[in-house]
Structures are given as structure tokens and as C-alpha cells.
């Protein structure tokens, strides 16, 4: 799972060139090609009345995006990188999926969803929909305006939250490839408080078992030359993963994404979606291999 090509999906206001520059650290792990994607959503070029759309609005939006992409591309070309671009009118998720398939991208980078709570409930979140329609890893990049940790090295200290699912194990394979750029990885499992019942001895036994499984994952990373440490937390996964990230001074949260149906996630929520959309930390979501 090497990242040779990444798709940088931007509406400009939520993801700028500084974010992309921070991701260029991935060149040390094999990144060669960046593809910019700007989707002009249909409602932005729709006429106020009637069925048509405004060609003039489309041209203006396309050219505005093109001007930014030319500027960014010149910078990357001059660094010896390969660059491509898509400026397309259509549905955001559908067009991103199409571009990712055409380009055979290894990673999709998106900004935090701008949809409101009600809109997300009925229309679903772009991130959730993307996760359900692609097996490609998705990095939800965020600006950390109030936090103090370094944005310029997003892969330096990741927290890998694992629930032993196939997607979580795929995340291990993905992170192994980043051995040149990860300084230390914290492997975290959040145990369900309700399952910790019985005597103190029984609870300690459960903790020991979890710790043993985390040690196995840490060993995989250490074999690859990546320093890793295990951590057991207890409670609500959403809150505890965020807490772990703070405790570890993490730069990134990495998780396998759930295989729950889209409508289930929309109504009941899921930890990967909640972390991706609400956490202060950039979040890398690894879907299961088979969708």
C-alpha cells in the first residue's frame, strides 16, 4: 500500500496549498504524483429558476479554479513532481470516485465536510458516502487554528485506533510503508466499559489480553523500524480516541472505517465518521479492502 499518487480534493476555502505542502513529506515514502480535483457542484451553476444552468457561472468558477491549480502545479513541477488536475461540474462524491478510479490514486485527501447537521442527517456526509463507495484510504485534513501541535508534519506522531477489524489491520499495512516519516506511532484500543465486569482480577485479565494484542501490532511496526507503543483506554471510543490523541501529542488519528450500511451510519453515527468530522485532528480512514 505505497502512496505514489494522491488525489487532493479541494474547494479552496477548506483546503489550501499549505496543507498540500505539509503532505509533500510523503515524497520520502514514495509520493510522485499529485492530482488536484475541484468539483463545481451543480447548485453553484444552477439558474435560480427553470431547468438550465449558467454557462457563464461555470466558466467563471472553472477559470478561478484553474488559476489556483496552475499556480500550485508550477510550484510542484519545479520540485520535480508529476501533477494533474480535474475541474468538473457534478456531484462531489461521484466525481471524486471517478477521478480516483481513472487516476488509480492511492490516497484521497479531503477537507472537513461543510454540511450542517440537518443536511448531513438527510443527505448524508460526503465523507461517509466516500467511505462507502471506495476502498481507497481517505485523509480528512484539518486546520488546527486553536491547537498548538505541528501541522507541517502530519504523519510524525499518529495514533492508530484499532478494533482488530480487517480495516484496522489494513491500516497497519498502510502505516508500515511510512517508516521514513513516522517518528512514533501510538497504538490504541478502547475497551467497552460494559464488558469490563466481574472481579478486579477478571478486568486485569481483559486488559492484559488487549495489551498483548496491541503489543503484537507494535511488534509489526518495530520490525519495520517504526517506534511504537501500546495504550489501553476504557469508555466511549469517540471520546477516548480524542483523549488518547491529546495524551500522546498526536499529529494524526488513523482508523479502519466501519462496514456499516450508509443509512445506519447516517442515523446512528459511527466512530470513524464522528472522529473524521468532529475531532480537531486530521484523520486518516482506511476502508475495508472489499466493499
Amino acid at each position: 500500500m505505497k502512496i505514489k499518487k494522491l488525489l487532493f480534493v479541494t474547494k479552496f476555502e477548506e483546503l489550501g496549498f499549505d496543507a498540500l505542502q505539509a503532505l509533500l513529506i510523503l515524497r520520502q515514502a514514495g509520493l510522485e504524483h499529485v492530482v488536484f480535483v475541484n468539483i463545481i457542484e451543480r447548485e453553484r451553476v444552477a439558474m435560480r429558476r427553470g431547468t438550465g444552468y449558467s454557462k457563464e457561472a461555470e466558466i467563471r468558477l472553472r477559470e478561478t479554479a484553474n488559476i489556483r491549480f496552475i499556480d500550485w502545479a508550477e510550484n510542484l513541477f519545479e520540485q520535480g513532481m508529476e501533477v494533474g488536475a480535474y475541474i468538473v461540474v457534478g456531484n462531489l462524491v461521484g466525481e471524486v470516485i471517478k477521478a480516483a478510479q481513472k487516476e488509480e490514486a492511492d490516497l484521497i485527501v479531503v477537507g472537513r465536510s461543510q454540511k450542517g447537521v440537518i443536511e448531513q442527517l438527510y443527505a448524508g456526509s460526503d465523507i461517509t458516502e466516500l467511505l462507502h463507495r471506495t476502498a481507497k484510504p481517505i485523509l480528512v485534513y484539518k486546520y488546527l487554528t486553536e491547537s498548538s501541535f505541528a501541522l507541517e508534519k502530519p504523519f510524525e506522531t499518529p495514533v492508530l485506533a484499532t478494533d482488530w477489524s480487517p480495516a484496522s489491520l489494513r491500516a497497519v499495512d498502510f502505516l508500515k510503508e511510512l517508516n521514513g516519516i513516522i517518528n512514533k506511532i501510538h497504538v490504541v484500543h478502547v475497551a467497552d466499559q460494559k464488558k469490563l465486569s466481574g472481579s478486579a482480577m477478571a478486568i486485569q485479565k481483559t486488559r492484559k489480553e488487549i495489551r498483548g494484542r496491541l503489543d503484537e501490532i507494535c511488534h509489526i511496526f518495530e520490525t519495520e523500524g517504526i517506534s511504537a507503543s501500546p495504550h489501553v483506554y476504557v469508555g466511549s471510543p469517540d471520546q477516548e480516541i480524542e483523549k488518547a490523541a491529546r495524551d500522546c501529542q498526536a499529529t494524526l488519528i488513523v482508523m479502519g472505517s466501519s462496514g456499516k450500511a450508509n443509512w445506519v451510519e447516517r442515523w446512528l453515527g459511527s466512530t470513524p465518521r464522528n472522529i473524521a468530522e468532529k475531532s480537531d485532528y486530521p484523520t486518516l480512514l482506511i476502508p475495508p479492502k472489499q466493499l
Binding site: 508550477e74 513541477f77 519545479e78 520535480g80 494533474g84 488536475a85 487516476e103
Partner: protein, 130 residues
């Protein structure tokens, strides 16, 4: 049949403009929509000239330019770069790639920054392939 000119550009408006200029001036236009397609067509058709954009999906004009200029059968095909990317950035990128160990390549026969008017394009083509 006029001389064959391959236009490689992802923008349909630019392709249409280039094809119109070529046909009005008696050339035969071939079109490709990205670098990858351009490479296949250049190998199949062996054009007399290539008009090449830089920023495109699948494969950029930077990479295709290198591939054409290092291909023993195609390196003598003249290339007009026609792009929004500045010539300075194009030349710097080629220099950086050569420093990374790629084969050095000559400068293109012409470099036109978009937008270009029909007369200028036609004159440049005529100057290179007659």
C-alpha cells in the same frame, strides 16, 4: 493530405480551437485528451508536429515531453508547448528531473503561453513544419 499534427490537451475548447486553426491552414489534426493517450497516438501515428499542454489528467505534458524527446523514433518530432504553465516553470522542472537522474532533454521548438491567438499559433506551426 496535409502534414499530421497531434494536439494533446484535456480542455475540449482548446482542442477545438487548435483543430480549427490546423484545418484552416491545411494540416491534418489528430487529438488526444491526456498525456497517456497522447503517447499512444504519437507512437501509432508518428505525427509531423505535436502541440502539447502541460497540466492534464493521467499523465502531464512534462512527462510526455520527456518520453517523446527520449524515444529514438520520435525525438526528432518538433513540439510546441501550449500551456497556462509558465515556460520558466516547465524548463525548471525539466532541469530538476535531469538532476534527479533522468536523461537531459532539449528545449521545445516553441513555447506558447495560453491564451494564444489563431494567427500566432498558425505562424508558429508554419515556421516549424512549413
Amino acid at each position: 493530405m496535409g502534414k499530421k499534427v497531434l494536439v494533446v490537451d484535456d480542455d475540449p475548447d482548446v482542442r477545438l480551437f487548435n483543430v480549427t486553426v490546423l484545418e484552416e491552414n491545411g494540416y491534418t489534426a489528430l487529438v488526444a485528451t491526456n498525456g497517456e493517450e497522447g503517447k499512444i497516438m504519437a507512437k501509432q501515428e508518428k505525427p509531423d508536429l505535436v502541440i502539447l499542454d502541460v497540466l492534464m489528467p493521467r499523465e502531464s505534458g512534462i512527462r510526455l515531453y520527456r518520453e517523446l524527446k527520449t524515444d529514438k523514433n520520435l525525438k526528432h518530432v518538433p513540439i510546441i508547448m501550449l500551456s497556462g504553465i509558465a515556460e520558466k516553470s516547465f524548463l525548471r522542472s525539466q532541469k530538476v528531473l535531469a538532476e534527479f537522474g533522468d536523461t537531459p532533454v532539449p528545449e521545445p521548438e516553441a513555447y506558447l503561453e495560453k491564451p494564444v491567438d489563431a494567427e500566432e499559433l498558425a505562424a508558429t506551426i508554419k515556421k516549424i513544419i512549413g
